[in-house]
Amino acid sequence: MGYFDVPEIEYSRYSNRQLAAVPLALLAVALLVLSGSFLVTGAPVQLGMDFAGGAELTVQTTSSEAEIESAFDREPDSITTIQAPGVDNQYTVQFAGVEDQATIQGLSDQAEANLEADGDASIVQSETTASASFAQQAQQTALLGIAVAFLGMSVLAFLLFRTFVPSIAIVLSAFSDIVIPLAFMSLAGIQLSLGTVAALLMLIGYSVDSDILLNNHILRRSGDFYESTHRASRTGITMTVTSMMAMLVMGIAASLFGVELLASIGIILFVGLAADLMNTYMLNVSLLRWYKFHGVRS
């Protein structure tokens, strides 16, 4: 008891269609969520201040949350209490989608003027601002970054395996690994920030790890399909679950401490790696099994 054992999955009990149906359905739902959100709000996920312009302030004050909310000319999008060891009365206040530069620059003055100081500590502990045009640029850069990363990964997958089905399996699963956490963000109201973009790019790297492992075991090694799959999954699931746990701990700790960047990376990677488990061991396995038994081979 207490040990972490990788269960053996009885793949032979399920048909390829059954196996692929779940991840494909989830991918479809995720795409639906994103397009729905796009139709309603104009963006597939809520854009944070990094990409929509605005400001984020960390304030130290004895004022209450309600007082903080009314301290600014503009209503904050979110106020988070920071719960770190040895820290009291710290809050993170976010304003996203502010167009006017003067408004952005005035926010810290309003905080200084309208909030109660907590002893000698400065009221505004940290502040990040981005003007609308800077954010616009960051948005384009991030989109390009993700596109280039994805394309590069796809090319590499094809170069590594040089056959269509296994390569496309990797690409498809990586795509789904990115889309599902995006839909999760959209539903959970997590804003797209620089940290989440980093997490999405990391996902490309992580997700391909387990796919390559699986493809390699099934295609490049001799032996029974089910035996190879079992070995690959034993290693792969260990890897992914270990990373998931590390990311979960990091995500929870960082969000308690108010370290936004690390928190969003942790949470998004956790969700994405969970999606990757499903995609690799249901979608990819079924595609590879179809390829191995029915696919055209040279």
Binding site: V124, T128, A198
Partner: protein
């Protein structure tokens, strides 16, 4: 076993030990590895810290402001060397709809390296069409169209801005600050300024001062009115002093020495200044006759009843002070001897003005102003930054502990799990040592990179362990080598994808994320090339009982 055989046998282990050793030296021995200062700012920041690690703004406190310069450029102008001046004058004389350009707002340049001419206007109130029209109005055969004008300024202008900003930060007594440029996708450039221990408002003020200092003679025009004439510009002052105070006269001032270098005609800025003072009557009838400034109220009366001879100190178009020519100075000038020791005091009303003036004179004028409507700022209080250092350590530690726990639960064999943990730690130490050696300032994003490295590292180690222990027995080293090579193919492929996925971030300017990408890529490289193969070696020795 001979030394050669020993090296052949243990080279992977020797490599990792050497790297960890080097990293520890770079980390803990003060000044352990000589590195250049290019990545970090000033030496002054290095205090008595436990390690040689440099912290970036996010972990050390301070402010960063990024903003693009204002301006537009017409490139590859077909003009001759002696037409530059004519072109500049035409650009200044042109009637713009909304803008009133001063000489600092126009720059015609010759680029020696590639033998071309550019013209720039540093104002956002001039349209592309007007600029093109103004260029064509110079009557030197230019035919520039609206499309020939681009937003943005030349590299030389940006370099000069960065230099001026660095001088200003140092003048303001702030060590550890620096300025650099960052390109965006659209070909736009942002000037980024980072300063520890300053609020965004202060820094913005420091950066928004154009710093164009001049002395304007306000003198009778001979028809009963008054006229203005610029008699000295900031760049003609050779040696500006520091802000000073004269308690006998209750004056705040900056002592300056005017440039006395003579050109081929025997004229120097100093002699020209002396001449114009004499011609305009400042050294004769005008001595002591300036009463347009109400020092108490800080106001000026530019429509005086009687003739005035005032020297106006003008900073960025605003009159800061007005005073008359002093007795001794006037007499020296009238006698023509002042030029031998061309010094005088620039008097200003307050200590703050004096300080401002000194900084502006020292650093020179900002070649082009910055557009703060497109800015991005980031600021952290030092106390908060110190907390972040602690949090990063805690969060990183927790993540590593989780990984270890999972590994022990999975393998139940300390022979497999313990070296795995040690290898992952070795990666972090080598990476930290590397960062300390090249003095890369660490920020929160780098911490995220470290955690990502541990994550991918453990993934790879699991792959190696599982592959090597396949079917239990690893009896011969030949079997081991072949299994290890198989594992390495997967690790290499995975590393290649991670590097490809993150390389856009390492190149593109997406603020914080560059550090994350660079650390992760470096970590993956160190892992694949040095530490992870060594883990295979250790595992082989432990499992084959060799």
């Amino acid at each position: 076993m001979g030394p050669k055989a020993f090296v052949m046998e243990y080279w992977r282990l020797i490599l990792i030990v050497a790297f960890v050793g080097g990293a520890l030296v770079a980390l803990f021995i003060p000044g352990g590895i000589v590195a250049d200062d290019s990545l970090a700012g000033e030496e002054a920041e290095v205090e008595d810290r436990a390690t040689n690690i440099e912290y970036g703004l996010g972990l050390d406190g301070g402010t960063r402001v990024s903003a693009p310069p204002v301006g537009m450029t017409a490139d590859n102008l077909e003009i001759e060397h002696d037409e530059q001046r004519q072109l500049t004058e035409a650009l200044l004389a042109y009637e713009y709809d909304d803008a009133d350009l001063e000489s600092a707002d126009v720059r015609v340049r010759f680029h020696e390296n590639d033998n071309r001419y550019t013209a720039e206007i540093f104002s956002d109130e001039v349209s592309h069409a007007e600029f093109a029209d103004a260029l064509n109005s110079a009557d030197i055969g230019l035919e520039v169209t609206e499309d020939g004008v681009e937003d943005g300024v030349t590299q030389q202008t940006r370099d000069s801005i960065i230099q001026t900003i660095e001088l200003r930060i140092n003048e303001a007594g702030l060590s550890g600050g620096n300025a650099y440029e960052e390109a965006t996708l659209g070909g736009q450039y942002y000037i980024v300024t980072e300063v520890p221990g300053m609020e965004p408002d202060e820094l913005r003020e420091l950066l928004s001062d154009r710093g164009d200092v001049r002395i304007v003679a306000f003198h009778p025009d001979g028809d009963g009115g008054q006229a203005n004439q610029t008699v000295l510009e900031g760049q003609e002052i050779a040696e500006p002093g520091v802000a000073s105070y004269d308690d006998q006269r209750d004056q705040h001032y900056v002592p300056v020495t005017v440039d006395g270098t003579e050109d081929e005609d025997g004229n120097s800025p100093a002699s020209e200044y002396q001449n114009s003072m004499n011609e305009l009557g400042f050294t004769g009838e005008g001595q002591g006759r300036c009463h347009i400034q109400d020092r108490q109220a800080g106001e000026f009366d530019f429509d005086p009843d009687d003739p005035q001879w005032c020297l106006l100190t003008v900073v960025d178009g605003d009159v800061v002070d007005a005073h008359s020519m002093g007795g001794d100075l006037g007499d020296n000038m009238a006698a023509g001897t002042w030029v031998n020791d061309p010094t005088f005091r620039m008097i200003v009303p307050t200590q703050q003005d004096a300080h401002h003036l000194a900084v502006n004179l020292q650093s020179g004028a900002l070649e082009a102003p910055l557009d703060f409507s497109q800015e991005q700022t980031f600021t952290v209080q030092p106390s908060q930054a110190e907390q972040f250092q602690l949090y990063s350590l805690l969060i990183g530690g927790l993540a590593v502990l989780t990984v270890c726990g999972m590994i022990f639960l999975r393998y139940r064999n300390p022979k497999v799990a313990a070296p795995m943990f040690l290898t992952a730690m070795a990666e972090v130490v080598i990476l930290l040592g590397f960062a300390a050696a090249i003095r890369m300032p660490l920020d929160l994003s780098h911490v995220a990179g470290f955690i990502a490295v541990v994550g991918t590292g453990v993934d790879d180690l699991v792959i190696i362990a599982d592959e090597v222990m396949d079917d239990g027995d690893v009896s011969s080293s030949r079997v081991f080598e072949s299994r290890f090579r198989k594992a390495f193919w997967i690790i290499g492929a995975a590393a290649a994808t991670t590097i490809i996925a993150l390389s856009p971030l390492a190149v593109l300017s997406l603020g914080d994320l560059r550090g994350f990408a660079i650390i992760t890529i470096l970590g993956v490289l160190i892992g694949v090339l040095i530490t992870r193969p060594a883990y295979g070696d250790i595992l082989q020795r432990l499992l084959t009982d060799k």
